[in-house]
Amino acid sequence: MRVETSSPAGTERVGRSLGRLLREGDLVLLSGELGAGKTRFVKGLAAGAGVARAAEVVSPTFLRLEEYGDPPRVLRHVDAYRMAGGADLEALGGGDLQGAGGFMVIEWPEHVEEALPPDGLLLRFSHRGPRARRLDVTARGPRGRALLRALRAALRKGRG
C-alpha cells in the first residue's frame, strides 16, 4: 500500500491511525533517511495507541530506546541509527525485546536486519518535497498482513 502525506501533521495522522490498531506483540519497522518523518510518525502512533501525548515522544537516537506507557501496554521505540548489527539490538533488551511485552517500533531496521522478528509491518518513508512524504507499507508475516488490511480500511474511512 502507498500513502501520500502532504505535511508533517498528515504523517502524524497516519501514525495515529496505525497506533489505534496496535496490540501486544506487534512490530512496526520504519525505514527512511534523516528528516523523512519517522519520529513524527511515532508521535502520532503513540498518541493513537494511548500510551503518550505526541509532544512527549522524542527522538530515541541518543538512548537508542525510549519507552512509553504502563505495562502491559508499553511502546518500545527503538532507534537503530547508530547500531552496527543485530547483536546491538539484542543487547538493548537483554536479548528479549519482544518477550518483554508491549509493542515495538524500530527506526533504521536495516541496521539490525538479522535480529528482527519475522512478523510485522514495514513502512518505507521517502521525501516528495519539503513537507510531502510517501509511505510505502508492506506486510511481513500474517500479523503484518492483518495490520496492513486494518490500516488500509482505517485510512479509507478517515478520508470518506
Partner: protein, 358 residues
Amino acid sequence: MRVLGIESSCDETAAAVVEDGARVLSDVVASQEDLHAPYGGVVPEVAGRAHEANIVPVVGKALRDAGLSLAGLDGIAVTNRPGLVGSLLVGVQAAKSLALATGLPLVGVNHVLAHAHANMLCGTALRFPLVALVVSGGHTSLYLCRSPLEETLLGATVDDAAGEAFDKVAALLGLGFPGGPAVDRLAREGDRGAVRFPRTRGAKGTLDFSFSGLKTAVLYHLRGQDARPGKGANRAGVRPADVAASFQEALVDALVKVTLEGARRARVRQVVLGGGVAANGRLRERMAEEGAAAGFEVVLPPPRLCTDNGAMIAALGTRLLEAGVRDGLDLDVHPRLLRNPTVKKAPPRRPAPAGGRR
C-alpha cells in the same frame, strides 16, 4: 565532605572524588569515543560491555589519584537518571555495592542537573534561584532550580536534542563524529547569514525546543527540493561552511531566545549553561552577550567540564547529601526525565532519619 561520584549513563565510564562539592581531588574518565567512532555514534552493546569492564578500574583509579581509601570518603553519589537502563545499572550497582560494603550514605543524581552544577567545580558560585540550560547529544532541557534540591523542568526538546541535530547535520555535510565540534570549526569559515534556516521551537507559549524541522531544512537546502538521497548529492553552489554557519546560527538563536525568555519569566538573576553543546563557541558568545544585555549573570562552564564526568555527579551529590537526602539500596534507575515534575512526583527521596544513617 569527600564524595565519590560515579557516572555511566552514556559513552563515558567516569568516577571522581570531590571535596566539599568544589575541589576536585581526582577525575577519571574512560571514554568510549574511540570505540564508537567507526559506527558514527554510541553503540549500546559496546557501551554496556565497556562500562562493565571499566567500572572497577575507573573507581579504583579515582580513589588512588585522590590518595584515599574507601574509609576516607563521606558519601557516594551516582547517576541514576536519565540514560540507557543497561548502562545506568552498571554505575548504580557499583555504587550500591560500595555503599553496602562501607555503610557510606548513597544518593542518586540527575545527570542533566549535574551538568549545570559542574560550574561549582571551577569556583563559580551558583546563586539560586537560577535557570539552567543543559544541551548535549541526548538532552536539551531548561530547568528552574530554586535550590540544589528543588528543580522544575521549564522546557525540553519535543524531538531532536541540540547535540543530535549537530551530529545529524554533520552527517549530511559529510563531517565526522562527534558532529558538534566539526560543525563549530567549519562554521567559523562560513557566512552565518548565507541561508535563513527556520527558527523552530516547541508549541506556542511553551519553553520547549524543536530541532527536527531545522535538520530537514538543511537536508533540503543541500539537495534541492527533490532531496535525492546519497552522499555528495549536494547542489552546485552550496558552500558547506555557509550551511554549517547558518544552521548553527538558527539553532543557537532558538537556544538563546528560549533560555532568556525562561529566565525572564522565572525572574532569576543567573543563567547557567551545561552539557557538551555548552562548549560551542557561537552559543557561548551569544548567550554571554545577550544574557548580559538582558541583565542576567551568565555562567559558562569551561569546555573541559562540559563533557560527561564523575566530578559533576559528586558535586551535585554533595549538595544533596549535605541537605540530608539519602537513597537506599533499592535505588532504581530511570531512563527518562519526567517532563512535568509537578504532575508526577520525581523518583522517591527519603530524608535522612534523625541521627543520620550509618
